[in-house]
């Protein structure tokens, strides 16, 4: 298990390193003169030069990459183009907000989707299965912002008025105000994930139900409930863990549109605004942070799967 863990972490680090290269390379399609770009046409040449020098844009590419990487490792992602403040000043609170929203969405969706997927598998081919499958499938492909817009139109101030249509920064808001204000964005994210997780759970459960060991257990004369809990569910839900983990990462894709829709200043909205004003240090930092979150989530998912699967847990331990 230890060897597997180390191996897995090493692979993750390699991927993160490649990720930084890709992200940094993308940013290098930049025009030769960020100072001019940022300061505008009216700025004096001296000011532009001073800006470039301050930010180190007059040095060769590998040096800049190494410098940036070294800074990033220490948590220093550089300074903003527009006001020169450290990127992390805005990044950290945004990350906290997004984490809260993502966690909320997961709490709303994971338990329900796993149960729904399991029910669909057990009632395979019946009405319950068809309903869950078709609903899940449809929800999984509708863009988050569309779901969000429809939710707001129906539950928001326009018609029913149950929840606010805008979240805002929620600075100093109480926990329950947050839950209330973020209910609709979290629900929009959760609905997308519901179909995905339910489908994987269903597939895993169907495989476990059809497995020879389930037949063995049934033919032993075990009560149906014991067969399900002891033999089917554990093997059937195992593949779901890794999928849920990868979804943590993908959720940050959906979060961009949702945060824009609800005006909630998290990492998603920060990514979008820094892209639109071409604040590259901020954009790079956002993308990198999102990538790292993805790696940590998949790493935890894989380790949890391995811990529950004796085949992986024991194979490399010997």
């Amino acid at each position: 298990m230890l060897r597997y863990t180390l191996h897995r972490i090493a692979l993750g680090l390699v991927s993160i390193l490649i990720l930084t290269m890709i992200v940094f390379a993308a940013a290098q399609v930049l025009p030769g003169n960020p100072g001019r770009l940022v300061l505008g046409r009216e700025a004096s040449p001296e000011a532009v030069e001073k800006f470039n020098e301050q930010l180190g844009y007059d040095r060769p590419l590998p040096v800049r990459y190494a410098d940036w990487l070294w800074g990033a490792v220490r948590g220093d992602f550089g300074a903003n183009y527009n006001d020169g403040r450290p990127v992390t000043d805005d990044l950290v609170p945004a990350l906290e907000r997004s984490a809260f929203l993502a966690f909320y969405a997961f709490m709303l969706c994971v338990p329900i989707s796993i149960v729904a997927g399991a029910i669909a598998a057990i009632r395979r081919g019946r009405a319950a299965d068809r309903t869950i499958t078709i609903a899940g499938l449809s929800l999984a492909v509708i863009p988050e912002f569309v779901v969000g817009a429809i939710l707001v139109a129906v539950l928001g101030p326009a018609l029913l008025g149950w929840f606010p249509g805008i979240a805002g920064p929620l600075i100093g808001a109480s926990f329950f105000t947050k839950l209330d204000s973020l209910f609709m964005p979290a629900l929009a994210l959760a609905l997308i994930l519901f179909g995905y997780i339910a489908r994987i759970t269903r597939a895993g459960m169907i495989e476990a139900l059809a497995a020879d060991y389930t037949r063995t257990a049934t033919l032993k004369g075990l009560p149906r409930r014991t067969v399900m809990t002891r033999h089917v569910v554990r093997n059937g839900v195992l593949p779901t863990i890794a999928v849920v983990a990868t979804q943590v990462g993908y959720m940050f894709g959906g979060i961009v549109a949702i945060e824009k829709l609800f005006g909630y200043p998290g990492v998603g909205l920060l990514t979008l605004t820094s892209a639109q004003i071409k604040n590259f240090p901020m954009l790079l930092a956002c993308v990198l942070v999102i990538g790292i979150v993805y790696f940590i989530a998949t790493l935890l998912g894989d380790l949890l799967t391995a811990a529950l699967n004796p085949r992986i847990r024991l194979s490399t331990a010997q």
Partner: protein, 313 residues
């Protein structure tokens, strides 16, 4: 290993004519018959029909939208703005007094042009990459796999934003052409397609026919494209239909984030972005384009689901 599971009702059938004087055998499982029955199963499925009808409807709108729409989509001459749905404007008017119904009908075009092209590009690149990774394995697989993993770590939308922003770096604001959208989404789709194809190829690579091809001196490109590729078309077709749905998803989302057609285009995602702020005043200006997107992706997905189910059986 004989006695592979007994009784699984998939007995192969024979090309031989029965020996003279014997009754002819009915070919219950002949390949032609299986194909016909499979197609019939797909076509008869209600979910497939629903999906096909809705998809076709939007396709017609995309092509003939300007002729079908009752008004011109960017005609702002109707007043007052934000009029609620009525007989003359069944979906109401938007903020600047344009007919929402006409905008929804014509708005189908941008999505329906970009999404299939992006899907085709992604599936082509992904299939080639997946074949190469799966066939060569070892370090080739490892190196490409690491790079794909790195790319996969960035959510699709964020990756697209990053590249599209970089592409318009030298210009004022963000300008995104349809070509750029197709290329960027196509590239972003490559890693997941490559992964799917790779695992299908891995299952084929160890089959003896690949070995047999090598044993008559075939080179790698022939083995990959003439021997293995025809056997992994099933997963590729499924992946293509899945990707088509996600392409619509992505194009619409990017348009909403203003990485797409610019105003006054009647693009659905853009409409929502423009009208959403006033949703409490005029829900119709937001909800109809939203429903249009939802109906199209769900319809494509219903087709995907049926194809997948029937191919899996």
């Amino acid at each position: 290993m004989s006695g592979v599971r007994d009784d699984v009702p998939q007995l192969p059938v024979l090309v031989d004519a029965p020996p003279a004087g014997q009754p002819s055998l009915t070919h219950l499982d002949s390949p032609g018959r299986v194909r016909r029955e499979t197609l019939r199963q797909i076509v008869r499925s209600k979910t497939f029909l629903l999906g096909a009808v809705v998809t076709l409807f939007w396709l017609v709108c995309a092509i003939f939208g300007y002729w079908i729409a009752p008004y011109h989509p960017i005609d702002e001459s109707f007043a007052p703005s934000y009029e609620s749905p009525s007989w003359s404007h069944p979906m109401g008017l938007d903020r600047v007094g344009r007919d929402v119904l006409s905008r929804v009908i014509v708005g189908a075009r941008s999505v329906i042009v970009v999404a299939p092209a992006a899907m085709a590009l992604g599936v082509t690149l992904g299939s080639i990459l997946g074949l190469v990774m799966g066939y060569f394995g070892r370090w080739v697989d490892n190196v490409i796999g690491r790079i794909l993993d790195a790319v996969l770590a960035i959510p699709l939308i964020v990756l697209a934003i990053l590249i599209l922003t970089a592409l318009s770096a030298g210009q004022e604001g963000i300008n995104v052409s349809s070509w750029q959208l197709i290329v960027v989404i196509g590239i972003a789709f490559t890693p997941p397609v490559a992964r799917t194809v790779r695992s299908a190829v891995l299952a084929e690579r160890d089959l003896d026919y690949v070995q047999a091809a090598k044993l008559r001196g075939e080179r790698a490109p022939y083995v990959m494209f003439a021997e293995i590729l025809p056997n992994v078309t099933g997963p590729i077709i499924v992946e293509a239909t899945v990707r088509l749905g996600y392409a619509v998803f992505t194009v619409a989302t990017l348009a909403f984030l203003s990485y797409g057609p610019q105003p006054p285009s009647p693009d659905w995602g853009l409409q929502i972005a423009e009208q959403y702020a006033d949703i409490s005043l005029a829900w119709w200006a937001t909800i109809f384009p939203a429903l249009a997107i939802a109906s199209l992706v769900v319809a494509i997905n219903l087709i995907t689901d049926t194809v997948q189910q029937v191919l899996d059986e």
